[in-house]
Amino acid sequence: MIDFNNVSMIYKSGTEALHAVNFHIDPGEFVFITGKSGSGKSTIIKLLMREERQTSGDIFVNGYDLFNLSRYDLPHYRRRLGVVFQDCRLLMNKTVYQNIEFAMEIIGESNRTIKQVVPKLLHMVDLEGKEKSFPDELAGGEQARVALARAIANAPDILIADEPTGNLDPKTSVEIVDLLYKVNQLGTTVLVVTHDTRIVDRLQQRVIRLQGGKIASDTEGSIYENEACEY
């Protein structure tokens, strides 16, 4: 599903963000990527989103060779990914319903499908009754739910969440992580980039820990019992 083979990334400024990184993620896995600021977490997301191209090594996702991905294939590749950003990036001039509808509309889904899927998604993220609300009328956790519903609207193979609990209180964070886990249980590969020890501990899933652009550890379950103070 996701293969990083000896991937290094050096930005134009000369900063080496990743150094010979290797990992493999199978379909249906739930993986946390953790690490301090500057450890290379965001670079991994940028490479997966194909916002950047690695300096060396190979990245294969869903059968696509990301380095050689053509401009024509890029939208098709991205349609198989769902992304939840830390700041949610909702469209403020659209309602909750329209934000989710928008994601489906722009890839050419039919009105019929949209009308069937959006209510189901709203039910899943527990936002029934908020269809007509605008994002600025919602609490942080509710905004995160809308972002999650939008990310999974096109039934992606992989869901990437970048610090999904970054701006949330502990209780709401747990709710969001539980939702991510629920999505994973439905068959989607979930990749969560975070430095929130609570959510990593809660789920006890695979954790790839980055340090200085290298993989420091790749373990199952929590790694924070003894290292929480680092973050």
Binding site: M49, R71, L74, P75, H76, Y77, R78, R79, R80, L81, V83, R89, L91, N93, F102, A103, E105, I106, I107, G108, E109, S110, N111, N154
Partner: protein
């Protein structure tokens, strides 16, 4: 494209317009002024051209005299050359007998009878479709062995050519300058729309929207600005021209001889076509420049 996509593009274009309505109205206004200015110039040039065509029509005949001893085959050969020339718009044949009869009325029957009916050469009166081709045509005819003489008013041709050239030159420069101004204004409007939609475009790219789907609403918006500008200009120019035509038609010839205005229906048809084409093409081109610069993938 799926109907849902067309609906999406239309809705997004409309939303963009509503979101930036002041700018949108300003753009339409400036495009409208630009097209109107071009329209005024066009109306003037069309009328000048219309009248210069009428006035010079008679002067622009070239008479090709065939040698007096020419037989039927020679005449046919000359006629073939004329028919096959792509710039020859019309040919009228004057036989020796017709020339003789016409001259009898001018110089008197007695003199002409003395000279005989085969004294005058047969001729072809030729009209060209392009005045600038006249000199080339005359040189070509003079070079033929069975041509006796070619008569035309070189001065009239040169003047016609010069007027025609000036009209095209002035029209070209003005249209070009006004076009650049419109392009700049439309491009600026789309640039601002693009910048207000930046977040939306970023999300669209992350979700996997194709570039065509991302850019189509902006092209449509540019085309719509051009279209509306053209429609408003057409209405103003059409009413204006109709008013001027009604006021001047009839009284114009009292002051300036044989001058007449291009009929309203003919003018409206040309204006509608040119304004629409100009407006829409400008709108789409303006969008193209803004999108290329500010909406890079």
């Amino acid at each position: 494209m799926k109907p849902v996509s067309i609906k999406y593009i239309l809705v997004e274009s409309f939303n963009n317009i509503v979101r930036n309505k002041v700018l949108f109205i300003t753009s339409i206004f400036t495009v409208c002024v630009t097209i109107l200015l071009m329209g005024v110039v066009g109306i003037l040039l069309m009328n000048v051209s219309y009248n210069s065509d009428t006035m010079m029509e008679e002067m622009l005949n070239i008479t090709v005299y065939v040698i007096p001893e020419a037989d039927e085959k020679t005449l046919n050969d000359v006629q073939d050359v004329l028919i096959n020339d792509p710039h020859v718009a019309d040919i009228k044949y004057i036989s020796q007998l017709e020339a003789y009869e016409a001259s009898k009325e001018l110089v008197g029957e007695e003199i002409m009878e003395e000279l005989g009916h085969d004294f005058l050469p047969a001729s072809f009166i030729v009209k060209l479709d392009d005045v600038t081709y006249a000199n080339i045509f005359v040189r070509k005819m003079v070079a033929m062995s069975n041509i006796y003489e070619v008569k035309y008013s070189s001065e009239a041709y040169e003047r016609a050519g010069s007027i025609s050239y000036t009209i095209r030159y002035v029209c070209g420069i003005l249209t070009g300058l006004l076009g650049v101004l419109s392009l700049f204004l439309i491009s600026n409007t789309i640039k601002i729309t693009v910048s207000t939609s930046k977040e939306e475009v970023t999300i669209m790219r992350y979700i996997g929207a194709s570039e065509a789907r991302i850019k189509a609403p902006f092209y449509l918006q540019g085309g719509f600005i051009g279209f509306l500008g053209a429609i408003i200009s057409f209405i103003i120019a059409g009413f204006g021209y109709n008013y001027i035509y009604t006021r001047l038609e009839g009284s114009l010839s009292e002051y300036i001889g044989a001058l007449e205005l291009v009929p309203v229906s003919q003018m409206l048809l040309v204006l509608l076509g040119v304004f629409m084409l100009y407006g829409i093409v400008l709108g789409i081109l303006g969008s193209f420049f803004a999108i290329r610069k500010y909406l890079k993938a």
